[in-house]
């Protein structure tokens, strides 16, 4: 048989192999002759276990040796619950400089501003625009100093700062912000006066005056329990078990009962470990990673070790609560990937690192 016979249709001398084949490592390629049944390692039991139809499995159970098998592993479901980033990522120095360069280039190449389209002659808005544009010293792309477009050494003009941006834009453009702020202030004061007089008052809706900074109180204190810390990074939940070594782990527990599958097991695990006060979403039914380890000799009677399959979940709202947890957990933390590396062991991190997002 030549190489093409595998892919050609039957009428052209190929095999009846479907066009799309799932690319699993363990799927055998099509062969010329059907495979012979592999011989049984051990002879079948004299009295095979009877199957109860009400309990499932319509096919007879084939015993390939003694039950339980030699390589018996405990199966556990682990939970990798993440809080995805809430903000865009922090730009490194090089990217900030690059975008600054592109902005300056745009300043020099774009058409001049058509002021008469937006501001009619003789209006207050036009006066305000002219006054504000002249107030601050800015780069002038058309003029005697158009050549001085480079970023000077030691300058911080290229660095991104939302608060500085807000103040600069309010000072140089017609925004209506000053009026809005003064009206809000006046409304609040009148509402307070009315309340003091004892009248029924409706407070004006709260608006945020200035844009919030990218770091919160949680960042300043480095409070690892809070979810609003490191808002541009992904945070993962780790819990602390009551032991000296290898205490910090993702929440996990052995699958309980006959019919519990991985996703159920993971949901139950999270509920038992971190409480019900979390709005979570488990992504799919397929695990995203595996951590297996052998028990020390003499630890378990039949089992060789444990295989922990991790399920992916996201937190949308709420917080973990370890009071009355059924897994003997002491503490919890929400950590980014690099912080997690220090806290869990090396071996665990090696098994787990590819499930996690660095950003």
């Amino acid at each position: 048989m030549n190489l093409l016979s595998r892919y050609l249709p039957e009428r052209l001398g190929g095999h009846s192999v479907p066009f799309f084949q799932p690319r699993h490592a363990f799927q055998p390629p099509p062969v010329d002759t059907p495979p012979v049944n592999p011989p049984l390692v051990n002879p079948p039991l004299a009295n095979p276990p009877a199957v109860d139809p009400t309990k499932g499995s319509l096919k007879p159970v084939e015993a390939h040796g003694e039950f339980p098998r030699k390589d018996w592993w405990d199966i556990a479901a682990g939970v990798v619950i993440s809080r995805p980033p809430l903000l865009t990522r922090d730009l490194p120095e090089f990217e900030q400089s690059y975008y600054f360069y592109q902005r300056r280039l745009n300043d020099r190449l774009q058409l001049p501003f058509a002021r008469w389209f937006y501001f009619k002659k003789g209006t207050l808005a036009e006066d305000e625009w002219k006054r504000k544009q002249a107030a601050e010293e800015r780069y002038q792309p058309y003029g005697p100093r158009a050549w001085a477009d480079e970023l000077l050494k030691g300058s911080t003009e290229h660095k991104l700062d939302p608060l500085k941006d807000y103040e600069r834009l309010v000072a140089t453009t017609v925004t209506g912000e000053e009026e809005t702020m003064s009206i809000m202030q006046a409304r609040r004061e009148s509402a307070k006066e009315a309340e003091a007089r004892g009248e029924e008052v409706e407070y004006p809706p709260e608006i945020v005056e200035k844009p919030f900074p990218r770091t919160t109180q949680a960042d300043i204190e480095n409070n690892t329990k809070r979810l609003d810390r490191k808002m541009s990074r992904t945070l993962y939940l780790v819990v602390k078990k009551k032991r000296d070594q290898h205490a910090w782990r993702f929440p996990q527990s052995r699958l309980s009962g006959k019919w519990e599958h991985l996703r159920w097991g993971a949901q139950r695990t999270l509920l038992e470990a971190a409480g019900p006060n979390m709005n979570t979403w488990f992504v799919g039914s397929a695990p995203i990673g595996l951590y297996k380890y052998k028990y020390p000799p003499g630890y378990a009677q039949n089992q060789v070790g444990k295989k922990v399959f991790f399920m992916k979940a996201r937190i949308l709202a709420g917080q973990a609560n370890l009071t009355n947890n059924k897994q003997d957990l002491e503490d919890f933390q929400w950590l980014a990937k690099d912080e997690l590396k220090e806290v869990v062991g090396n071996k665990y991190y090696k098994a787990v690192q590819h499930m996690l997002v660095a950003q």
């Binding site: 058409l111 939302p162 834009l169 453009t173 925004t175 608006i207 709005n279």
Partner: protein, 151 residues
């Protein structure tokens, strides 16, 4: 503008035996292009209703723009936020006037909530005013809404 003929820069020999599976080379002869006219753009800071903000480039000279309605305060995107789901904006007071005239029977709210509202302040005020508003606060039944013929 005259049509541009796209001829390959060098001739690829095609014999009758070679199939049409050989790749074509993307070519364009050097021609004079007009300098593109880029519109004048400004930085603009958009501040959403929940206080979050982002910066964008725009032709509008307004430097700061505050949204009044966006995904952060719309019920379609905030199903789990009870405050957003139940919020009813009544800027001109028309809904309040309607309720004063026709009662709470046409509201989308639950019966328990309406009862709570009635018990709290409204009925008391109406009773003291001596109006017939309490009679007018009926709950519209199915036949009333459908507008069928009265038997």
């Amino acid at each position: 503008m005259s049509s541009i003929s796209l001829k390959p820069l060098f001739h690829v020999p095609t014999s009758p035996n070679t199939s049409k599976l050989l790749p074509r080379i993307a070519t364009r002869n050097a021609t004079l292009l007009r300098r593109p006219k880029r519109p004048h753009q400004f930085d603009q800071l958009i501040i959403l209703t929940d206080g979050s903000s982002f910066k964008q480039m725009t032709t509008s000279p307004r430097g700061v723009f505050r949204t009044t309605k966006d995904t952060r305060n719309h019920p379609l995107w905030n199903e789990s936020d009870a405050a957003v789901m139940g919020l009813e904006e009544d800027e001109a007071g028309k809904l309040k006037a309607f309720r004063n005239k026709y009662g709470h029977g046409f509201d989308i709210q639950d019966a328990s909530e309406i009862k709570k509202e009635l018990d709290s302040d409204a009925v008391g005020k109406d009773a003291t005013a001596g109006s017939l508003m309490d009679i007018l606060r009926y709950k519209a039944g199915e036949e009333d809404i459908k507008g069928g013929k009265k038997k």
